[in-house]
Symmetry: C2
Subunit: 512 residues, 2 copies
Amino acid sequence: MINTAGRMIPDQIAGLAQVRPYAGPFATIPTGQMTGPKLRVNMPKSEKLIKSIDHVIEATGLKDGMTISFHHHFRNGDYVLNQVIEAIAKKGIKGLTLAPSSLNDINEAIIPFIEQGVITAIETSGGRAKLGKLMTSGQLAKPTIIRSHGGRARAIEAGDLKIDVTFIGAPCCDRYGNMNGINGRSACGSMGYAMVDAAYADKVVAITDNLVPHPVYPISIPQTQVDFIVVLDSIGDPKGIASGALRISRDPRELLIAEYATGVIENSGYFKDGWSLQLGSGGASLAAAKFIKEKMIAQGITASFGVGGITAPFVDMLEQGLIKTIFDVQDFDIPSIESLKNNPNHLEMSASYYANPHNGGPVVNNLDVVILSATEVDVDFNVNVITDSNGIIMGASGGHSDTAAGANLAIVVAPLLRGRLPMVLDKVNTIVTPGETVDVIVTERGIAVNPRRTDLIDNLKGTGLPVMSIHDLQKLAYDMAGKPETIAVSDEVVAVIEYRDGTIIDVVRKPL
Amino acid sequence: MINTAGRMIPDQIAGLAQVRPYAGPFATIPTGQMTGPKLRVNMPKSEKLIKSIDHVIEATGLKDGMTISFHHHFRNGDYVLNQVIEAIAKKGIKGLTLAPSSLNDINEAIIPFIEQGVITAIETSGGRAKLGKLMTSGQLAKPTIIRSHGGRARAIEAGDLKIDVTFIGAPCCDRYGNMNGINGRSACGSMGYAMVDAAYADKVVAITDNLVPHPVYPISIPQTQVDFIVVLDSIGDPKGIASGALRISRDPRELLIAEYATGVIENSGYFKDGWSLQLGSGGASLAAAKFIKEKMIAQGITASFGVGGITAPFVDMLEQGLIKTIFDVQDFDIPSIESLKNNPNHLEMSASYYANPHNGGPVVNNLDVVILSATEVDVDFNVNVITDSNGIIMGASGGHSDTAAGANLAIVVAPLLRGRLPMVLDKVNTIVTPGETVDVIVTERGIAVNPRRTDLIDNLKGTGLPVMSIHDLQKLAYDMAGKPETIAVSDEVVAVIEYRDGTIIDVVRKPL
């Protein structure tokens, strides 16, 4: 069948009970109730501490075929996922579905256990490098399911993604299982992705290198959700978890893209007192933060809130009173972690609060402006952030489609050429974010506004910004680099791109 | 059938799908999953504001036979419950189950609507005065179900108490539904009871007299759980919501009880650095707080946390560093509300975190000591807080049985005589808290230790405290006031006392 994004979706896909084709960003009206975790009982003063990962695996009752999850807040400093899977492998458990909120390069260490059949399916946000290649290779028993951050929260809360056991790396934890991410040498800041897993998994294991006296506070994940606690010497490498504040780009192309994006925002009609924004962590986004800040100061405008993935430039704007509140699902650098710890206007939020489309209103629905990246866009404004020009998985869905759907103004920034390849195609290899939710594409050579947004087209007239049609933008790219070859693929579906509402917006087929 | 508390429970009770007899405080091992609210969808920037209570009732789809809920944080200043029920009555809706976290005397205004059949069943914590009499009269279609605060959270989370629509009085609310209880002229402090309703009701209505710009923070109840918002001129009377700091009792009998209770705590073996406590809001409890504080200062002991129902003496101990953290499910006075607002060591908690026996560990399970009140106790240490000496409902279950079950040391304080009636009976009229969870009964004439607690009996030897057997304590009372008459009752069950785990510990029969 062909979905409304124009993609051919097989009627049946291994591992999916039902294939529901994408039908538009808000076409799915969910029915029924949210699910819940297993009912538990806890005896007063009972002991949750278990002496090792090996013992806790037994305590949870983990068995062949179950689903396990992890959070990715430790980024490339994560020691938890690899250690737990190694311990599971040693116990001879097989056929697990691995469903972390995302995977980092450091998790390549688990590839041997995938090859041994310990893990036979993956449901996550995406994968880079060797893990992306593995997902694309078809060697897993089922296609990998790629979900956005909001879509994952939805899937967990709706019971589509049932987690049997979650293993939560906890930078700060007490003996009863109250946790936060802001204290301790493995501090990662917000635990926003893990909050959903903790609330819905049947068994919740906290893994910490910083056991402190009860009660821990603030409490990001409460003791009421935690079954067991394991103490390790180290759960992460601080250098890999968070960097120092990133330097703003000096790449002239990125600076020009940032300047244009800022111009679009300034003239969009949304740049007024009380507006709200999400910025990415890429070079152009960080540069845009700087330019936007200057415009806000010059025009005396403040924002009611900022959302993200938080970085130092955002924190800087919060501290200067330019942004009144930050909603934080993840921290990328040390200044952001410190701000979450010390600034009462900097709020931790769960992935569901951030972006789940099937609750009473995620904060992405309140967004005015988001700046997003892309590996490819197409003339229908569809965006790919997941596969490269060879059709190999090399990115993650993240909050891309969530924020695009929620924000009044979704701006995609990208260089017009990537290496020698045009970025504007006839059809992107893989749709992650549908064009009907993307408003503007900004490159260093030109800006294209989605024709649906006649209001924006009007607002940008006479601003001096290089607005042109998407076809003209594509022609510019093709004139410079030629029309790229299409990727030859087999019929084998190796990954499913689940839209945030649970429908299938695209599949990744194995390249020939 | 006779349950393990020795009470005759009918095999069938109107309104209960199944009658499960109480079998011991931790005998019930729950199976299955928690439930969840209806899956929702919210369109970006959609409007949640509805212009009146009348309109919001229509928007929720409220129909005959449904269950509605409210929170009781506004205490005797509550304007929300009465107004909503009056509006419901005007629409001709009938046969509702009213399931508030508790009822206050001010809610007597709804009695006409009960008589008219708008409300035909009640599930709550208890009732006083006219509402208690009404519950005892048998004029409701089904027996009233009385639950503890933890038991109510359990029932909601397990799906036993399904709330169709909850109406939440919100002292501070933004246009998207984020709320807290600490700001605004109707500030009530913690919204701990309402949190459970908001998380599980199919439709959630916020009713506020203080609509503020988005986003409100701190966030006690998130926008993701809120469907509609109604703005009223006033949702409560500040004088009824919170009093000033209560004066410590000067009643010599209460002071003596408090002194003895303090002596029991001091010598119990639990009075050491890092201990934890919950105190009630009655006269003897507040006086005990003062004496305990003096002992803590004298002996250089600090508590890791305090729990409650929070009052000014607790806040005073927090501010002096004698208690390191407060977990707050409800505030009784203005100093407590101010402390929740301003002191980061003063934490709001939900009723589930407080006391739900079927999660991964409510904070009552961490308690060392709780001081509780009683209207009657018996020689088996069972406690009644719900019916008076005529068998009429005149109190509420509250957190009584929850904290007694969770704490290491549950002390019940009460005068030996109440008016001219002995407080220690052969059998209490109504069991709310089973004797196997009660450790010590303290009166102004003597102290009885539960014979199960041989450790406590040993610890209290040689302390000079007037420890005696419960039978000697009863004899003292009977010698002064004679043996009380038993209450003659009919076979008609007018209320069910549900133990926190969902079993039936007792029923209230209509007095003859």
